[in-house]
């Protein structure tokens, strides 16, 4: 079975090279606002992932019948539909998490990462590729959310996976890891400014890794172009 190289490229783009969180810097509002704990980040990340896959697939499926002039409102409607689905689902099954995500759950509609993918990729490609792109972009976004959430939770409260039972059910209470004990919370890490600072460090870290990779790669020798006189008249 031959795998289309486009898939590999899509995975690389979504997870690292064109990561919606670290490189495109899209959807910063939820990224910074709800990543105070890993569980919040995970909840929002999964919701975004779901919306991204579904909206990409739908947009791609109807791409031949959408008039170009009104495509944006149609995309927004599609995204809003899926966000409403997610919202109702979370309201039904993970009510506490729904409460703690608050307004940022419906605000997924305005997440530019989603409409950006719909416009830039899904509206031009077949369903399979588009949904795979949604999956990879969503995973990339989810990864950034998780890392940011982990950093802020460890710095702010000294725990990891606090409140995992909100998302996964009562058994997950045991997932909570107490890394170290704090007498008082480090509020800066929990408040939005801490998210901005941690985000800056993450982006810097990614750039450092990128430049290390670029240095490690053997440089391609530039072929010297020797000019030959072509003007025979003089």
């Amino acid at each position: 079975m031959k795998i289309n190289p486009e898939y590999k490229e899509l995975a690389w783009q979504g997870l690292w090279k064109n990561n919606p969180g670290l490189v495109q810097l899209l959807g910063l509002c939820p990224l910074l606002a709800v990543t105070s704990t890993v569980v919040n980040a995970l909840g929002l990340g999964i919701a975004t992932l779901f919306v991204l896959i579904c909206s990409n697939a739908t947009v791609s499926a109807i791409r031949h019948w959408v008039p170009k002039e009104i495509r944006i409102p149609i995309f927004v409607l599609i995204i809003a539909t899926f966000v409403t689905c997610v919202q109702l689902l979370m309201n039904a099954f993970t009510y506490d998490l729904y409460q703690s995500l608050g307004i940022f759950l419906p605000l997924i509609v305005t997440n530019c990462a989603i409409i950006g993918r719909a416009e830039a990729y899904a509206s031009k490609k077949p369903i399979k590729l588009a949904s795979f792109d949604g999956l990879m972009m969503g995973l990339g976004f989810l990864a950034v959310l998780m890392v940011l959430g982990a950093i802020r939770e460890i710095l702010g409260q000294g725990t990891l996976f606090d409140g995992a039972n909100l998302l996964l059910g009562p058994w997950a209470t045991e997932l909570k890891v107490q890394i170290y004990h704090l007498d008082s919370q480090f509020l800066l890490a929990i408040l939005p400014p801490g998210a901005f600072i941690a985000m800056g460090f993450l982006i810097a870290g990614k750039n450092v890794i990128d430049s290390k990779i670029a240095q490690a790669k053997p440089k391609k020798l530039e072929q010297a172009i020797e000019r030959v006189r072509v003007n025979f008249e003089s």
Binding site: S184, F186, L187, I197
Partner: protein
């Protein structure tokens, strides 16, 4: 023999950064001495901790950035930042407050922006604000002056409180802060603010033991010490007169207007001048040449804005003192102020567009 004719300027200032920084640190000594005399060893310990952390942090970042370590590490700017931070912390704050604050000031506020001369915010004040919003409990446990304490606090007691939270006799910070009559004491500014919300007038608040005869036991002398140091700096031409002058004048005018309008709920002008961190802010913080405005007119506006902000936050805001917040807000405004107060270069006419 030919004369070598150099172009202007002919008079050079030979002093280096380190000399200037050392001068500012010396100038802070009277204030620190007053702090030690009235509040004990706490701030000296914090200054020491902050300086050590700052040097370690500066060394680490400089070596990561492949900079010249010997010259930049000992140019005194990191030490000055640490000293200012140590002065402004509550005397009995736990040790990790200072470590985190000093580390943040050097690594994030100063070095991440490119080191000395590139930081948009005053590192000491940014670190102070970070600590204040991150650890509100620890950062508001101000120690009352020694003369009002029910117990005698020696160097060992202070050390033990800072590093373990309790004195060797087992008293907590909260117990140390408690007056002999059983109520917790705060700073003069805090006392007045709380009393106003309780419906007391300013005149009644002035009876509080922390305020004493004038504007606050100890605080008036600390401010006088920093004023003295500031005048020394002015005399040495280490700082310009413009920023402190306009800051103090602006604070004076604002508090005077407030006092005229409602003397029962506003404190006097001199109370604003001689409590809290007013003089430290005026002469040591706002005069930071990096994060402040540049031109003479710009500095006047910068200082006046800071004075207005300090008064507004002290009077109407949620925090009793406001130097750090005002300084940060003014630092943000400094580039804009600079843009609109660019001085006329010689030979150019006013109002002529190119």
């Amino acid at each position: 023999m030919a004369f070598w004719i150099a172009s202007s300027p002919h008079n050079h200032q030979q002093s280096e950064t380190s000399a200037l920084m050392r001068l500012v640190i010396y100038a802070a000594i009277p204030g620190i001495f007053a702090q030690w005399y009235f509040f004990g060893w706490g701030n000296l310990i914090h200054i020491l901790l902050a300086v050590i952390t700052a040097i370690v942090a500066e060394f680490t970042v400089l070596s990561l950035r492949n900079k010249k370590i010997t010259t930049q590490l000992f140019d005194g700017s990191a030490i000055l930042t640490a000293v200012l931070l140590g002065i402004s912390l509550p005397a009995l704050a736990p040790w990790w407050i200072t470590i985190i604050g000093s580390f943040f000031a050097i690594v994030v506020v100063k070095q991440l922006y490119g080191g000395l001369g590139h930081n948009p915010f005053n590192p000491a004040m940014a670190a102070y604000v970070m600590l204040l919003i991150s650890f509100p409990l620890q950062m508001t446990q101000w120690q009352p002056p020694l003369s009002l304490l029910a117990m005698d606090i020696q160097l060992t007691d202070t050390l033990a409180v800072i590093f373990t939270g309790y004195t060797p006799q087992g008293y907590s910070v909260e117990q140390i802060r408690t007056h002999i009559d059983g109520f917790t004491m705060a700073t003069p500014l805090d006392t007045v603010k709380t009393n106003i919300t309780l419906g007391l007038t300013v005149v009644e608040s002035m009876q509080a033991p922390t305020i004493g005869k004038h504007f606050g036991v100890g605080w008036e002398w600390i401010n006088a010490g920093f004023l003295l140091g500031g005048i020394f700096l002015l005399f040495k031409k280490a700082i310009q007169w413009t920023t402190p002058f306009s800051f103090l004048l602006s604070l004076f005018i604002c508090s005077f207007i407030g006092f005229i309008i409602s003397p029962d709920s506003s404190t006097s002008t001199m109370f604003h001048w001689f409590t809290g961190a007013t003089m430290l802010g005026a002469f040591f913080i706002l005069t930071d040449p990096v994060s402040g405005a540049t031109s003479v007119k710009g500095r006047l506006i910068f200082g006046a804005l800071a004075g207005l902000l300090v008064y507004l936050i002290r009077k109407f805001g949620g925090y009793p003192d406001a130097i750090a917040f005002a300084v940060l807000l003014c630092n943000m405004a400094a580039p804009l102020i600079d843009q609109y107060t660019r001085p006329r270069t010689y030979g150019h006419k006013l109002g002529v567009k190119k």
